[in-house]
Every structure is written in structure tokens, then in C-alpha cells.
């Protein structure tokens, strides 16, 4: 009994630490003071200011586009990789693993500036293509990890059964492998989206002059005078993702149930 109570107490403390800054950020988005100072006066002023801040809206949209494209590319490439590696020899597998893990062991700062140097070598200006490539490089390992976990836990005999019943590779992939992988594909895409959406460092190095993404906008605003509009945007994004997450969980639940049948 004591063990359980102290366990929950500990979890509570962890969540207190984890969520206090987020609570502060949400609260401050409704605080009238432009300097986030107390006492608290309720106001939705920053939300209407945000709605009229074209620069902030543009950079948020940029982030959404970049993260969406990154998520799609990452998850498609990662799925192809996992299908390819599934039947590979252990030696090839471990080689592939170490190549994929590499971006996790290189600080993003270094990856970002080395890609910037690639542009310099090629005589190109900073551009969205290289920025996207950079985002894919850092998001791909996460998508691969999610898919790998799912592939390892999958019952491959079902695929073999499909082959032995005469289905070709394509049919087996569409009717067996893909549905089994589907939750991991969604989770991997979500993770890749999130890594890209919050990525400040790579974007900072590779963004074309004059454009920006939300994290860059936040950084410059923190550097040169913060406005609570940033709090308002962050609150909206948090709410939006929570809703999206909720929908995905609901969808996955029904897809899991249909798989059980």
C-alpha cells in the first residue's frame, strides 16, 4: 500500500515538474500584461493580436507545411527501408541500423551547419529544399525506430501464410503487411511531424533569408522582446495536437478492434 501511494506521489511530482512551465505558458496567454507580469488579468487580447500578425501566421504555416512533407517522406522511406531490411542478413541489418542511428549521435547544430557548408560548396543560397532534406535526416531515425519496434513484434507467420496460400508479394503487402504496420505508420508519421515542427536548429541554419518558421520566430521574439502572442500560438498548437492525438487514438482503437475480429 505504502509502495503504491509513494509511487503515485512520485509520478505526481514528475508531472508537476513537467507541466508547470506549460501551465504557466497557457495562463500567460490569457494574461493582459505584455511582460507576462502578475497580477493576472484575464484577457483574450493576445489571441486577437495573433490573428492579425501575418508574419506569425506565415511562419506557423511554413512550419506546418515543412513538417507535413517531412512526415510523409520520412514514413514512406522508413517503411520501404523496413520492408527491405526484413529479409536482409543480420550483417546488412546491423550496417543499416548504424547508418540510420547516425543522425541521433550527431548534434543537430553540427548537422545544420554541415548542410549549410554543402550549400556553400555547391554555390547555392539557403533554400527550402535543403531545409526539407535536413528535416528528413533528423526525423527519419525516429520513424524507423517506431516501425522497427512494430515489425519486431509482428507475427510474420501471417505473411508466410498469405504467400503459401498463393498471394503474391504485392497482395500480401497491401492486405497483410500494411494493415498490420498501419498503427506504426501513423505513430511514426506523427513523431516525424513533431520532430520537424519543433526543430529550431536545422531551420535556423538553412532557412532562406526573409522566411521563417515558428520556432525561428519564437527564438527571435525571445531574443528581441517577447510578446505573449507566442504564448497564444503555442497554446493553440498544444490544444490542436491534443485534439488530433485524441482522434488518432479513437481511430486506432477501432482499427485495433477490427484487427482482433
Amino acid at each position: 500500500m505504502f509502495k503504491r501511494i509513494s509511487s503515485w506521489l512520485y509520478i505526481l511530482l514528475i508531472f508537476l515538474f513537467l507541466y508547470t512551465p506549460i501551465a504557466v505558458l497557457v495562463l500567460m496567454s490569457f494574461n493582459e500584461s505584455p511582460y507576462n507580469s502578475l497580477p493576472f488579468t484575464f484577457s483574450t487580447k493576445w489571441y486577437s493580436e495573433m490573428a492579425h500578425n501575418q508574419r506569425l501566421i506565415d511562419s506557423t504555416l511554413n512550419s506546418v507545411y515543412i513538417a507535413s512533407i517531412t512526415a510523409v517522406i520520412s514514413v514512406v522511406v522508413a517503411t520501404a527501408l523496413m520492408l527491405g531490411a526484413a529479409k536482409a542478413s543480420p550483417k546488412v541489418k546491423s550496417w543499416v541500423d548504424s547508418v540510420i542511428i547516425l543522425p541521433l549521435t550527431v548534434p543537430w547544430l553540427i548537422l545544420g551547419l554541415s548542410l549549410l557548408l554543402v550549400l556553400k560548396t555547391l554555390g547555392l543560397d539557403r533554400n527550402f529544399v535543403m531545409l526539407l532534406i535536413g528535416h528528413v535526416v533528423v526525423s527519419l531515425p525516429y520513424a524507423v525506430m517506431v516501425l522497427k519496434a512494430r515489425m519486431d513484434g509482428m507475427d510474420h507467420q501471417i505473411e508466410e501464410a498469405s504467400y503459401s496460400l498463393g498471394a503474391n508479394e504485392w497482395t500480401t503487402f497491401i492486405r497483410i503487411t500494411l494493415p498490420m504496420l498501419f498503427p506504426a505508420i501513423i505513430a511514426g508519421a506523427f513523431l516525424a511531424f513533431m520532430i520537424s515542427f519543433d526543430n529550431f536548429i536545422l531551420s535556423y541554419f538553412l532557412i532562406p533569408i526573409g522566411s521563417s518558421t515558428l520556432p525561428i520566430e519564437i527564438y527571435s521574439s525571445v531574443k528581441f522582446g517577447f510578446t505573449p502572442e507566442i504564448n497564444a500560438v503555442s497554446t493553440l498548437i498544444l490544444t490542436g495536437t491534443l485534439l488530433l492525438l485524441f482522434v488518432i487514438v479513437l481511430l486506432m482503437r477501432s482499427s485495433l478492434k477490427s484487427m482482433m475480429k
Binding site: K3, P21, L38, G84, L102, L104, V118, E169, I201
Partner: protein
């Protein structure tokens, strides 16, 4: 075992084997290409730049590295950055381990929900969270008011903001959830029967933990440590926001070289030194693990 069995019917269909091998490599190639062309090759390009002099007509030089190793400032900064990253990693292990253990082994229901709550903060920008810490930690800020209400501090100010402590708090806040996840994953794999066996053989809970749970969760601790330590070595935004005038770390110096001073080659040299440090620390960690086994 399982895999070999799985391969059998597949291989029986010999006429297709050639196609399959071709397809498989074809499927793997996009990922491998992206990683090699944009993850590995650029690092060599960076290495190349680090040996060039800055200016309109670059020549080969060792000056960038000489500059770095001759000035106490850079060496001190390197040490400071490593120290800070180590502290963040250690604190993360200490606070994440019990949390992961509780979620994996103590709580019977709702593990997935708790894990979800651990990762939800990932969906708010790291920079915004760093800024929130600024609100919390500043003198006269929320934390100070709260602590004063509880009579935990006197009339003096908190004095945390714009120190290394503030940077460390925010980095732990950003990175320790990764540690919870990786340790949870390794703890979750431990069969309950193993723990019961240990108990029935007369081991105390502490002995069971030290001799079974801890060794089996080591991979999670190591993966988590890499996921925390490596990004910490390269941070520059959080030290800028929370670290104040003495907040410089290697990351901020590299940023300055690239964005303020135009010392690209020197920046590349520092970045390469940082990269060597990263690989060295990963190598040392893996050696330590092997010895432990």
C-alpha cells in the same frame, strides 16, 4: 529461430528469389542514400572547411585548430559544456528511472496513458518552454512567490535566472522524458517471472533490483543517456535565453562564428572538435558497458 522458419516457404519459391533480392535492395536504397548523402558526406565537407583559412582566397591551414587549443577560453568552454551535459544526463537518469520503474512495474493499469502524458510536452516548442522557465525562475517570479508563501525562502531573491542552474533545469525538463521512455522500454521487457524467481530464491527486493532489474535495464539507460547527452552538447538557444551573460557554451560560440563573425572555417573546426567529443563519449560508454558485462 523464428526468422529462419519464416524464411523457408519464401525460399522454396526459387524462381522469385532473384527479383526479391533486387526489390529489397531497391526498397532500402532511398533511406540509405538520404543518410549517406546528407548525413555523412556533409560531415566530411565540414572537416574539409575546418582546414581552410577564412577570407576571399582560402588556403590550407591548421590555424583554426591551433586557435582553439591555444586559447584557454575555448578549452574552458569545452569543459563547461561537457560538464553541463553530464549533469543534465545524470539528473535525468536519477529522476527518470523511478518514474519508468513505477510505470513499468508498480502500476497495474493505465501505463499507456501515463506514457502519453510524458510525451505530450514534446508538442510545445522547446523554446517556449525555456521562456516559461524564465517566467517561473525570475526574481519576483512565480516560483519565488510560491516558495515565499510556503516560507521555504526568506526575503532574498531567488537568483537562479541567468545562471547555469537555470539552463540545467530547462534542459532536464526538455530531455528527461526521452530517458523515461527508453528506460521504460527496457524495464517493460523484463519478465515478471524472473522477478518472482529471484524472490522465491530468497533475494531481498534490493538484491533483486541490483542483480536483475538494473543490469537488464542498462540498455535503456545507455540509449537514454545518448539521447540526452548528445543534444545537450550542441544546444545554444537555451543558454542564450536562460544563461545570461555567462551562458556561453560551445554551441553559442559556433552560432556566433556562423551568424555574427563570419568565421565559417573556425566554426567548422569547433564543430568538428565537438563531433569528436561526441563520438569519444559514445565509444567510452560502449566500452564501459562491455566491461560491465
Amino acid at each position: 529461430m523464428n526468422e529462419r522458419q519464416g524464411n523457408l516457404p519464401f525460399l522454396l519459391n526459387c524462381s522469385r528469389v532473384g527479383d526479391v533480392v533486387k526489390n529489397r535492395i531497391f526498397l532500402m536504397s532511398p533511406a540509405i542514400f538520404i543518410m549517406l548523402a546528407f548525413g555523412v558526406v556533409p560531415l566530411f565537407i565540414m572537416l574539409y572547411y575546418s582546414f581552410l583559412s577564412d577570407g576571399p582566397s582560402p588556403t590550407f591551414t591548421l590555424q583554426n585548430y591551433a586557435n582553439f587549443f591555444q586559447k584557454a577560453f575555448y578549452l574552458k568552454l569545452t569543459w563547461k559544456t561537457i560538464q553541463m551535459s553530464l549533469i543534465v544526463t545524470l539528473i535525468s537518469i536519477v529522476i527518470a528511472y523511478p518514474a519508468a520503474y513505477i510505470i513499468a512495474k508498480v502500476i497495474q493499469r493505465g501505463q499507456n496513458l501515463l506514457l502519453l502524458f510524458i510525451i505530450i510536452p514534446f508538442w510545445t516548442s522547446q523554446l517556449v518552454r525555456a521562456y516559461s522557465w524564465m517566467n517561473l525562475l525570475q526574481d519576483g517570479g512565480i516560483l519565488e512567490m510560491f516558495l515565499r508563501k510556503l516560507h521555504l525562502i526568506g526575503d532574498g531573491s531567488l537568483g537562479i535566472l541567468f545562471t547555469q542552474t537555470a539552463v540545467i533545469i530547462s534542459l532536464v525538463h526538455i530531455f528527461f522524458p526521452y530517458m523515461v521512455l527508453t528506460i521504460y522500454m527496457s524495464l517493460d521487457k523484463i519478465q515478471p517471472s524472473l522477478l518472482e524467481a529471484s524472490k522465491s530464491l530468497g533475494a531481498t527486493p534490493f538484491e533483486t533490483f541490483r542483480r536483475i532489474v538494473l543490469p537488464l535495464s542498462k540498455p535503456g539507460i545507455v540509449t537514454g543517456s545518448i539521447l540526452v547527452f548528445v543534444p545537450c552538447l550542441g544546444v545554444f538557444a537555451e543558454p542564450r535565453i536562460l544563461g545570461g551573460p555567462n551562458g556561453s557554451v560551445i554551441g553559442t560560440v559556433i552560432e556566433d562564428q556562423f551568424f555574427e563573425i563570419n568565421g565559417w572555417s573556425f566554426g567548422a573546426a569547433i564543430a568538428f572538435i565537438l563531433l569528436v567529443m561526441v563520438f569519444l563519449s559514445i565509444w567510452i560508454t560502449s566500452r564501459l558497458i562491455k566491461r560491465g558485462d
